[in-house]
Symmetry: D3
Subunit: 218 residues, 6 copies
């Protein structure tokens, strides 16, 4: 996956609604997303005609396969979301498989859903920061079979902490992954934020900021 | 795990609150469960003193290990819930690893949370029934890397559909797994339900019902 | 009401959304259901043009009349739901009148709303099973003027426990009754569940299961 | 019931929490109210020890009996709430029986839960006013077996519209009835509101207001 | 602003949905209201095409200007709601500026959102009545820089308590202000409520009531 | 206000619960916070004895006074939250006054509540970034009487964009302001995050990162 792939993936996922976690409860047994509906409302997507629903609407195959990590972050994100499993609509869950090359990481970010992080292979540092406790950092290096819970809404780290490849599953309690990469928000904003302001905010000089503003962050 | 183990596990899990899925959102960055609190309220458990929280409160190790399936259902359930990961409190998520011997199954049940079911090994049939569509049954046989979504509140099947062993991960969007086994509810109720009523309800004769009422269902 | 009537009634009711109880709150004073809208979304139905709303949209007449119990369950269910009172849309409530011949019962079921059960006449056993307390059964035989509360999501009994006719009102805190009959889910699933699996699950022989799978459950 | 009885009943009911309708969902199978707990929190009451719960915690008897209407409003309100049925805690429902002498009425009021109103006997006018439609008044005179839905949060009328006695059941989708009598709020406020302000607000002279402020409204 | 202006403003505001406070959370980053959509559903309004969104959709100018108070209430209400700032859709907030001539007041009312009231100039009495505490009245006279919180759903007073002009900001935690003026509900209902009933309800004679029913209340 | 003051203020505010916006609705008329309660639960704080509540519990005075901006950010934050107005408990609202010296800013941050930003004096740039639209930046420079809405959960800018002093009011729809400063989360985490990881994440060299990690960010 190239840089533009990760970018596209996240944008696409987000366009299918960056969401508050802890979605509203379903009010129908099933409400398989009508991916072609132009209607844009708060909450889950409109449902397609139930008579057209099949077993495959609830099914995904291939999460045992690593994704393509040929991008600057050396990470692959394979997402099982409503865009590929329309039966996830209204169900309040989505998941991804992450593959990390050595040195790979998913950029520092937060989302409004909680995250269960399960290591499949390798060594992965997962951690989060709590403003409430004066920015205390809780973390673990996860090995195969280890699990860590990342609270909703907190900035967190996901990085390959070992010498080899690593992979994991992340499960979010929202049908909408809802990812906000904090470097992209600051340096990748379009139109760009005022560079002298950013310089003050980051305690860096303005040239450094302007250089950062030319880079790609997603 | 013996029959009494699965029974204990489920009861224990449920006592830590059989819950409505789609939990209330957190109102604190973290609220690590105070497992010793006697207070019993609706919603998550009370939080312990934040100054006593450690990285380990958010961590579980060992989900790569199969559980003991020596019970009549030939299934092992290893649960990562608030009882073993107190940091799951308020996070709206929990998960289990299932291990199935050949012929093994988790008894027909429902819970009020949605479930993502990810096959790790073997062949597992997962399916659910929708009253809304006149009890239509949606299902798939999952192989390694396959995923299926089970909607909240619907009766569902989880069974080893292959000749060998099988294992999977199930993730629920509630901190409280909330399991209701429908045979246990009918035949294992204490005190017992009226057997002539159950005979009518199940279109079976009363002797058969009385025999079922002597069996163990959890 | 014939068997097909109860079946149609429940399916119809469910198609008007089997719902999570404890509906989202209204965000309009009134939102009378537009029963002709093809839009299918999570949550209440779309509202019709307020200028077309009349007093009758909030009104139902005839709950003092017993329903027709000429069906195998010897029970009549007369439902005051959004299909007949479109003003119930967004209001988070619905109700039914039940009439039981001697021996009549409503099949063992659950729904995701809580239920207030008020006896009008005769003797009716109402009870529910709590997995959280190892499938303890709480119940009462209700006579005229007695009330029992059935918690949301639990399997419960409603049966004529007397020698004569009986009738009652049941009120659910959802605009969508949301009924799941546990025998229909197991034996009436379409396509049918694997009979050897069901035999194991019910601790019955496979022939008995196959016979049950030929019967009608709704 | 004397005037002070209706007053006490409403205050008592309210002290057991005037609530927003559409209560939070239960997170335990049952959470029978510990009526002796001093803890006062948002949401349902704390639960008592489950091992002390009995069938009677979910049961009420006597709703077929009329209440005592010997008060200025000539109305009796018999409430089945958490104070008398502690098993209603977390269930999101409560109900009352109303008995009206000729000319009897329940004072003009609103509550934040929706209300199903079912006439048992006599002729009762039930109606509500919608600010959204420029204070349009929707109403019906209900006779035996008639049902009317009163939307959450709207001022509504409940009055005997016939020559004889009348009675009805009202069911609210909240464990807390939550009643606000609009005359009591204006004229019965303690300390009293400024009478010249009230005179302007009601387009009445100040003497009339001061006289109203000496009367009892609950 | 003439009387009809305040009337129109409130009706207009309400038509853009008199709402329960404490709106559902957003499930999209932004969902700028499509004010031209004919679709009427529970919850926020449908979103317009994101590619047409501009900075101005989130912006309002002019809250430093007093409104026109030439109406019988001698009050001006300038509302920053979704009708003028479509970006407020799904955001759970709205606000107004109030200007009071000497003797001016906003009629006694309630709404289902909480209200922060911040005095800008003059002396303003703000207070509310709690049925739960037997209609106790909590109030303060606010001067410049003073703040008062009015709980959701309670009848409250907002009046100029000084000799000069006064102004304030009120912020509600709902995108829909949701105002119910209790005099309008009682005396301005269309069709009119029965005057003998109102006479009993208000402890006034029927002629007085009939005279009140001819007046304007909004 | 010195740097440690802003730090203390934010930590203090957060300890009184960094919260999800769009709080649960109140279930009592009022629930004035018992600030001395040791109980820590999800949701609002426990309520104090209603008989001890006074008018002052709902009142704050002094928001017309600028705060002390003598800190590195040249900003003062004066917060009207539950810690100073205990009656805000359960009300779903809080607010702050911001004062900016020339060049002053509130560090780049997000919170899980929506924000209404009202300029009182000077010129203030307010803007937010939407990941859903590929990190598009929406902003305005606000002058006296201008209002801008900042959506929940998005990184946003608040800075003095003029030559003189500036001040504004910000209102959040949560009783808990819930602030997460993204520089503090990255560079101020304790224990510190791995500097080579941060260097990769920020596309800066490791020395620069290590220097940033020695600075103060709150």
């Amino acid at each position: 996956m190239s840089l533009s792939h990760i970018q596209l993936l996240i944008i696409f996922t987000n366009l299918l609604s960056i969401a508050s976690a802890f979605d509203p409860r379903p009010t129908l047994d099933i409400c398989v997303a009508d991916l072609s509906s132009p209607l844009r409302i708060n909450g889950p997507m409109p449902c397609k005609d139930p008579s057209t629903v099949t077993d495959n609407d609830f099914f995904y195959s291939g999460l045992d396969k690593p994704g393509n990590t040929s991008n600057p972050f050396r990470v692959a994100v394979t997402t099982v979301g409503v865009a590929v499993v329309p039966g996830l609509n209204t169900m309040g869950l989505s998941m991804s498989r992450l593959d990390f090359e050595p040195g790979g990481f998913f950029p520092l970010h937060y989302h409004r859903s909680s995250e269960l992080h399960v290591a499949l292979e390798g060594s992965i540092e997962v951690g989060f920061v709590t403003p409430e406790q004066n920015y205390k950092y809780y973390s673990k290096v996860l090995n195969k079979g280890d699990v860590f819970i990342v609270p909703a809404g907190l900035v967190h780290v996901q990085r390959n902490a070992g010498a080899g490849e690593a992979s994991s599953l992340t499960i979010l309690n929202s049908q909408f992954p809802g990812i906000n990469i904090i470097t992209a928000a600051a340096f990748g904003a379009k139109p760009a934020m005022d560079s002298s302001y950013l310089a003050n905010n980051y305690q860096l000089d303005e040239n450094t900021i302007e250089n950062l503003q030319t880079k790609r962050w997603v």
